[in-house]
Symmetry: C2
């Protein structure tokens, strides 16, 4: 892990860009801390860190204000990382199906999501190795948001993740819905009731599938990007209960 830039945001938060091998990432830490901070990994959709930056930094500021460190890395095939032709084709197919209002076939979902999950999750685990070795960052670790399929696999595969906030979606490979039954960490799941890109019933079924003994679903009226500010506060409360 190599830091490539460093700056102070106006609220004192230290923002550092880094690379982990070929993978760019960003770390946000409190201005000062008396003890190692618990860490929240900020997931995001595969649209590129640069495009997602405004939303990521807002989430990071909220996390840091509550005493967490927050970090994210670029997803494979996104941003400045090399394209994946298969994934690009599946993405175009997804866009066509959604614009035509047609159901999205399992094959498109599998082609789009499974390689991403298989490649991204070990990368997030490597990032975790590097981040937890830094002074000022301790455990426990939470994972928040982004593609729910990545959250499912990470929660199953990575014992250092001890709580997760997930955004319910329906573009989830069947194999990962099955994998959700193996998730045991406390979950706080957000659902947008009128999400134009996700089937509500499939999202509810996915929530039902999670094996966690402590899980809750928080559904808000509105479309995909309409999560209200109060929902962010409640998710932060959840992390505060479970990671501090």
């Amino acid at each position: 892990m190599r830091f490539t830039s460093e700056r102070r945001l106006d609220d004192g938060v230290l923002e550092r860009e880094f690379t982990l091998g070929e993978i760019p990432g960003i770390l946000w830490t409190p201005a000062s801390a008396s003890a190692p901070a618990p860490l929240i990994l900020l997931g995001h959709p595969p649209l590129g860190l640069r495009r997602m930056y405004p939303r990521l930094v807002a989430r990071a500021r909220h996390s840091v204000a509550r005493g967490f460190a927050a970090a994210t890395i670029e997803l494979p095939g996104s941003g400045d990382r090399p394209r994946w032709p298969d994934v690009e084709r599946a993405r175009a197919g997804l866009r066509r199906a959604m614009e035509a209002g047609e159901p999205v076939g399992d094959e498109i979902i599998d082609t789009l999501v499974l390689p991403l999950v298989d490649t991204a999750v070990p990368e997030w685990q490597s990032a975790l190795d590097a981040l937890l070795a830094l002074p000022g960052i301790g455990g426990p670790v939470g994972y928040s948001g982004g593609l729910i399929s990545i959250g499912i696999r990470l929660a199953v595969a990575e014992p250092r993740v001890s709580a997760a906030v997930l955004f319910a979606g329906s573009l989830v490979p069947r194999a990962l819905v099955e994998e959700a039954r193996q998730v045991t960490v406390p979950l706080h799941v957000l659902l947008q009731w009128d999400d134009e890109g996700n089937d509500r019933q499939a999202s509810l079924d996915l929530f039902d599938a999670f094996g966690s003994e402590e899980k809750s679903l928080h559904a808000h009226l509105g479309g995909h990007t309409g999560v209200p500010e109060s929902a962010g506060e409640a998710a932060a409360e959840f992390f505060t209960r479970h990671l501090t």
Copy 2:
């Protein structure tokens, strides 16, 4: 409205029992307040105030700690109030159907719930008249919990109610599911995912039916009485956002 007893709880909360005509009730107010407190009406199932007291006083303490006044009244046919033979019969029928694991027919639900709603809601409105005339109690008013059918009618009929926390249930007359479309106040709806007494899909459909532009559903794993403490905190946050 006539106060019949008064005592200080250990945290300084003032608890006063009252009667409103024939109807017993309880009012909880802060130890001291600089401005008139907003009011939360504490709904409850028709099991009698005495039996519900431990849960009611816990909810009241939480409300008062956040600067609200809280009040409740006995439901018709419950506690020390005169029995309603028709309702008693419907209640027995409900119990038989649920113990036998049979679906509960519309007729049982209508006989059990509609007279209760028709009688209780004007009583809560009268209580509101009396409570809001007391020094130290102002608006706005929230309604919390209890039979969701009463919450629906009260939210539609009573313009002084400006936000509601409701417990989703499926034992709701079809007429009231229709009435839910007329509800416009902000709603925070709690659902127990494994509620043994309520059908999950019917509860989700009822949530969907509410006309409010701001509504959210908070589903927690567990049975009917297993609402976690954190859910109570989140509901209190909702009232703080909307009533203060």
